[in-house]
Structures are given as C-alpha cells and as structure tokens.
Amino acid sequence: MSTTEPVEDRAAVLAGVGGWVPPHVVTNDDLSAHLDTSDEWIRTRTGIRTRHRVSPGMATSDLAVEAGRRALDSSGDDRAGAVVLATTTPDRICPATAPDVAARLGLAGVPAFDVSAVCTGFLYGLATAAGLIATGVAERVLLIGADAFTTIVDPTDRSTAVIFADGAGAVVLRAGRPEEPGALGPVVLGTDGTLSHLIRVPAGGSRQRSLAPTHAPGEQFFQMEGRDTFRHAVDRMATASRQAVAAAGWSMGGVDRLAAHQANARILHAVADRLGIPAEHQLSNIAEVGNTGAASIPLLLAQSAADGGLEAGHRTLLTAFGGGLAWGATTLTWPKLSAG
C-alpha cells in the first residue's frame, strides 16, 4: 500500500456507479390480493406503483454483487482496495456480508465490512469510505448499499408491506483532489438513540436471545411508528441538508439535483418543500422501486445517471434518514461517468 500524496490534500472522488433490482416485480394489485388495501390507496398515500422482491433463496449479498459489479464496470477498473456494505438485512448475524461480496467480485483479501445505519447506511458508508481513502487504507473503495428488506417486513402489515422493497446500488470512490468534479463534500451525520424504538426489529439480537430462546409473535418483523418517523424524517433531512450545503459553501438555490432517501413520496415532497427545491430538481424512482433501505440513494443515482436525470456538472445534494434514529447529508458535483 503506497500513499504518494499528503493525506490532507486527498478527497474521495466518485468514479463509478451501478444499481440492480431483482427481476420479480410486485404490483399494488398483487399486494391488494392479500392485504386490506388497493392500488389507489397505495399510490395516493405512498407514491409507489411497483417494487421488486427477492426470489426464494436470494440474499442481500446476491443483490450487492450485481450492483457492485456494475459500479466497478462503470469506473472502468475492476479493482478496489476495500469493500464497504451498508445494509440492514445481512445474509446472517455473523460474519459480515461484505467479505462474501468482495470474494465473489474477485476481491478476496481486501478489507471488507458491513455498516449498519438502516436507511442512512449509504451516507454513513460514504463517510467511512472517504475515511479509508484519507487514511491511505485504500486508493479505491467499493461502497454498496443493499437490502432485501422484504425479508424482515411483516407481509400482513399494511403500513410497511406496501413501502419496503429490495435492491442494491453501489459507487466506486477513488483518491483524488477536492477540486475535482465528483469529490465528496463535507458529510453531515447524526443519530438520536433516545428514539431507537420508532424503527426497529425487536427480536434476533442479544437482548431477546439472552431473555428467551423464542420471541413473541411479530417481533422478528420490522416495526415503524409512522407519524413520529414522518415528522423526524422531514426535520432531520431538511436540517442536515442545510448544514451540508452550507459546509460545502453552496446555497440551497444553487442545488441542481436533490437525491433524498426514497422513503415515501410524501416525505420527499415535504423535505423539498422545506428546502425550497422545485420538483424538476428532485430525483425520484420511488414509484417504480419503493423504499429499498440502504440501497435507496445509490440505486437512485445509478438510475438517474442512466436516464439523463443526473448529468455531469449537476450540483447534487444527498440526504437520508432512518432507524437509529440516524440521518445524514452531503454534496458533490456529479462527474462524467458511464452509468452502470
């Protein structure tokens, strides 16, 4: 491992992007067949029309490998000195999923680990990847956000089953200069553990395991307090966005694209409204893919880069919020890339 540049001059620069969703599509009508809901109800209350679901036996690592390969292809170089996987749905409790993913991408031997920050995982992963580059641990980092969220959602819970979905997105970050297009701006991160109960899967961890070998019905599933989550999501994403934009020396009016965690169309609308970012500057794919957890932002970036919604030179604001509670935001000027 060589470090030819002084650490303080280094920036993490976006070099590749890719996304992947499993082929199985679930429509609102499919869900209405076994839930007390309808296509109209889901569309008007969440903005979601379809979402993708893993097929039986498919795991988060399978999604991550597909997206990771596409991001590496997009970067024009299949090497990476580290692999970071942001996920809420690892293949199993132990060990981490990232080493499997790295090995399947031909990267066995590199440092690889998971980051757990629920729907803000990609933002935490960006800061982590930038740190690996700044400290000289790696010259190039493959950061993947992947979630098989449907595997932890209660299929009979109307409030979450219609929203959460499966997918993966990935970026390659390389060592570069702060003034380059694609250089990651200051990253704003925060948490509030006094509100960890708002978004959780109660069973499966050490607390439940030390109490009893079995768990109460439903506790293995993802639970979310909708109203409180909505309010905090809007507050935290708007505040973190303002902080990140200010730290970058930008103004909110100078933001060309907002890439917010695709939580729910109504949250996205409320955040953009607070920030004064017009609809034509908001990237969105929630109608087609739903809320894909840690995959949400990189999948959105990959799809937007591919469909022309995101072009080189766009000053782009990223923000996310999720369980923890955890939130974050950062900025970058979109570089010239081939979409993965």
């Binding site: 309010r231 409204d273 607070r274």
Partner: protein
Amino acid sequence: MFTALRDILVGPFKVDPEKVTPEATLEQLGLDSLSVVELSLILEKDLGVSVTDDELLQTPTIGAMAELIGERGAPV
C-alpha cells in the same frame, strides 16, 4: 381561521371543498394520520403556527381544529 385551514385542505390536500365544514372529521375528509403530520408542517411553514400532530389529532372536528390553530396565534 377556518377559512385559512379550509384553503390548506382544499389546496395541498386536494379535499373536496364541499366536504370541508366545521362539523367534518378528518376521517370524513379522507385524511390519514400522516396527513396530520403534513398539516402540522404546513401550518408551521406557511402560518408560523406551532401545533403538533398529536394536538391536531385530539381535535374532534375541523371547526375545533381551526379554533386550536387560531388560539396559537395564526392570523384570522
């Protein structure tokens, strides 16, 4: 205050104007619990009124809700 609240319900929330009466309940207007959070955010941003979604949910009718918002200092 009722007029200002009606304008918000008819505008951003796309509620049928004929349904917005002082006696109407949120349920009758087809608004779900997240709508109350959205309403709270709009009241804060557009009218500078701080009313929580919990407080709004406790009002039995749109008329009572308008009264609460008015008490918090919103322009009539």
